[in-house]
C-alpha cells in the first residue's frame, strides 16, 4: 500500500457494507431452518424456514441483534480514523458474540414453536449476519492498525472475539452435556468417539509424509537442475503437467499399479500397500507437491549474484563448499516459500484421499454428501482449513527465522 504509515483512512465503506449485510439478514432472511429429520432438509416442502422476527415472536430480539450493525453503519458512513475503528471493532465484536450466543436459545424456540422439527439448522440469515459482523470487525481492525501510535502487539488482541468463539465452541464440544447447536452436536459426537481426532491424525500424517518426500526429492532435483539446464527444464515441465491433472483422476489411476503390486507380492499388504489406502494417496500427493519445491529451489539458486559466485570460486571453494556455504543459504528463503506452498496445497488435496480409501478429513465430507448433512461437511472442512492456516503460520515463521539475517535487510540500510 502506498499510504504513509500512520495516515488515517477516510470513511469506512467496508464497515458500512458489512453493517448493511447484517441489517438485510436480520430483517428478512431465514434464520433457522427446521425439518422432521436430516434427510428431509433436501426437500423444499418439508423444510420450515423462520425469520428472526417470527422465531422470537416480535421485533425486539431482531432489533437487539441489529443494533450494533446500525451503529456500525452510522460510524462507517460518517467518521474516520482510530476512533471510528474502535467503534467498528466494538460493534463487530458485540454483534458476532450476540449472534453466536443467541443461536442456541433460538434453535430451541424454533423447535418448540412448530410442528415436528427434530433437526434445526442455521439459515442463510445467521450466516450472512455472522459474515457481515465479521466484515465490520475486520474494517475496525484495519482502521485501528492504520492509525498512528498503535503498539505492534495490538493486532493479536483485536482478534479476541473470534478466538473467543472458537474457544467457546471447543469448550461446548468437549463438555459432557449434548450441545444444542446442530453443528456442535455432531462435532461433539465425533470428538467423543475419537473419530475426529483419528481423522485429523490421518490427514496430518498423509500431508506430512508426502510433503517431506516432495521436499526431499524436489530440492534434490532443483539442485541437480541448477547444474544441468536441461534437467531443470524437463523437471519443471513434467511437474507442471502433473499439477494440471485433476486430483481424483490421478489418485484413481495410481490405484491400479499398487493393486497389481500387492497382488504380485502379497506381503506388501501387511504394510498397508495396496490398491486402496494410503499408498496411492501419498504417491499422488508427493507428485503434486514437487512443482513448487523444484521451481523455487531452482529459482532461488539462480538468484544468487554472479559476483558472489565468482568470488567464491576465485577464493578456492570447492563446488560442494560453494553449494553449502553460498548458494543454499542464499536460496533458503525462496525454497521455504515453495515449501509453504506445497504444504498448503497438500493439506487441501489430502481431503480427497478418502475417495481412494486413504482416510483423512475427507471422510466427514463424504459422509456429509451421503447424508446431505452440512454439519458433517463442515466438520471435515473447518479443521482442514484451520490446520492449513496454522501450518502456514508456523512455516512462515520458520522461514523467517531460517533466513540469514544478512538477507533480511534490504539494500542500503544501516542497522
Amino acid at each position: 500500500m502506498s499510504r504513509p504509515a500512520g495516515a488515517e483512512l477516510s470513511r469506512s465503506r467496508l464497515g458500512a457494507a458489512g453493517a448493511l449485510l447484517v441489517l438485510i439478514a436480520v430483517a428478512g432472511l431465514p434464520w433457522i431452518q427446521s425439518a422432521p429429520n436430516p434427510l428431509a432438509l433436501g426437500s423444499k416442502l418439508l423444510v420450515r424456514s423462520s425469520s428472526l422476527a417470527v422465531l422470537s415472536g416480535g421485533w425486539l430480539y431482531a432489533a437487539l441483534l441489529a443494533a450494533p450493525a446500525a451503529a456500525a453503519l452510522i460510524v462507517g458512513l460518517r467518521r474516520a480514523g482510530a476512533p471510528a475503528g474502535w467503534w467498528l471493532w466494538a460493534a463487530g465484536s458485540t454483534g458476532l458474540l450476540a449472534v453466536w450466543l443467541s443461536s442456541e436459545p433460538l434453535i430451541a424456540a424454533g423447535r418448540a414453536g412448530g410442528t415436528l422439527a427434530n433437526v434445526a439448522l442455521w439459515g442463510s440469515g445467521v450466516w450472512l449476519s455472522l459474515f457481515g459482523y465479521g466484515v465490520v470487525l475486520y474494517a475496525g481492525i484495519l482502521h485501528v492498525r492504520r492509525a498512528a501510535r498503535t503498539p505492534a502487539s495490538l493486532p493479536l488482541v483485536l482478534w479476541v472475539p473470534v478466538l473467543f468463539i472458537l474457544v467457546h465452541a471447543g469448550w461446548l464440544i468437549v463438555q459432557g452435556e449434548p450441545a444444542g447447536n446442530w453443528l456442535l452436536r455432531v462435532a461433539q459426537e465425533e470428538a467423543q468417539s475419537g473419530g475426529i481426532q483419528q481423522r485429523i491424525r490421518e490427514h496430518l500424517w498423509l500431508s506430512a509424509v508426502s510433503a517431506t518426500l516432495s521436499i526431499a526429492v524436489g530440492v534434490a532435483i532443483g539442485i541437480w537442475g541448477y547444474h544441468r539446464e536441461r534437467v531443470a527444464r524437463v523437471a519443471l515441465y513434467v511437474s507442471g503437467v502433473i499439477l494440471t491433472l485433476p486430483s481424483l483422476a490421478l489418485f484413481a489411476m495410481l490405484m491400479e499399479p499398487y493393486a497389481a503390486l500387492a497382488n504380485a507380492y502379497p506381503v506388501l499388504r501387511g504394510y498397508g500397500i495396496g490398491g486402496l489406502g494410503a499408498a496411492p494417496a501419498i504417491t499422488g500427493l508427493t507428485l503434486y507437491g514437487l512443482l513448487p519445491v523444484i521451481r523455487n529451489t531452482y529459482a532461488g539458486l539462480r538468484g544468487v549474484s554472479a559476483a558472489q559466485l565468482d568470488a567464491a570460486r576465485g577464493m578456492g571453494m570447492t563446488p560442494g563448499q560453494i553449494m553449502f556455504l553460498v548458494l543454499l543459504p542464499h536460496a533458503l528463503p525462496v525454497i521455504m516459500a515453495g515449501v509453504r506452498q506445497t504444504a498448503i496445497l497438500l493439506i487441501g488435496i489430502a481431503t480427497l484421499a478418502q475417495l481412494i480409501g486413504g482416510g483423512g478429513l475427507g471422510y466427514y465430507i463424504l459422509m456429509g454428501i451421503n447424508r446431505a448433512s452440512i454439519a458433517h461437511i463442515l466438520i471435515g472442512a473447518i479443521p482442514a482449513v484451520l490446520v492449513a492456516v496454522v501450518v502456514d503460520f508456523l512455516l512462515s515463521w520458520l522461514g523467517r527465522s531460517l533466513t540469514p539475517k544478512g538477507l533480511r535487510l534490504s539494500k542500503g540500510v544501516s542497522a
Partner: protein, 255 residues
Amino acid sequence: MRIVRLVGSAAAAIILLGVFFLLEDLHARILLAIWPQYPHALPFQGGSMWQMGVRMVQLVLLSTLLCTAVGIPLGIVATRPRFREEWAPIVDSLVNAGQTIPSLAVVALALPLLGFGFVPALVAMVLYGLLPVLRNTAVALESVDRAQLDAGRGMGMTPGQLLWMVELPHSIPVVLAGIRTSAVLNVGVATLAGLIGAGGFGAAIVHGIDLRVPPLVWYGAVPTALLAVILDFFLRRLEEILTPKGLRLQAHRDG
C-alpha cells in the same frame, strides 16, 4: 493474423477432444483387453464418453466464463484508489483463506444448499475458480510500473484511459495465467461434481472405485486427465497469442 492463430488453436483442441470422446468403442476395447477379467465393466451405465465429455466441457467452459466475467471487474474495483485501502486487504485475506478450503468441501456444500445437479455444481465451480482470477487480476494491476502510470497521468490521461490503455494491456499475461489456473482447477472440481449428480467423468471414476473395477476407473480418469492437459496447453497458447508483443520481448530479455 492473431485471430487466425487463435481460431486454429481452438479448433485443434476441440477436434482432438472430440475425436477422443467419440472413439468410445476403441477405448472400451483397449481397456477390456488390459483387464479381461471384467468383461461387463463397460459400457458404463451412467452415460457414454461423449455425453460425459460434453458435460465436462460445458461445466468448465461456463464456469470459467463466469469467473472471468466476475473476477476481472472485482479485481479492477479492488485496486482502484477509492477502494484500495480497505478492500485490497480483505480481498487479499479472503483469497488466502479461500485457497485453503478444499475443493471437495465446496462441492459438498453445494448439495445441501442447492441440491443435486448441474447448477449447484456450476455455482461451486464459479466460487472456487473465482479466486485465482481475482488474485491474479489484483496482483497484475498493482504491479504496473509506477513510472508508466506517472507518465500517462502527466500527459493528461483520465483514470479510465489509463486503465484501458496502460494498466489492462500490461496485466494481460498475468490475468490470462489466472484464468488458465482457474480453468484447470475447475476441471478437477468438475470431476468431483460427479458426486453431486452433475454428470461428467467423476461418476465413472467413483463407481469404478466403489465396485473395484479398474477398467471403469481408467475409463473415467484418462479422459479427465487428457481434458485438463489439452485445456492447459490451449490456454497457454492463448496467453502467448494475446500478450502484447512489447511485453513478450521484455520477458525474453529478463528471462
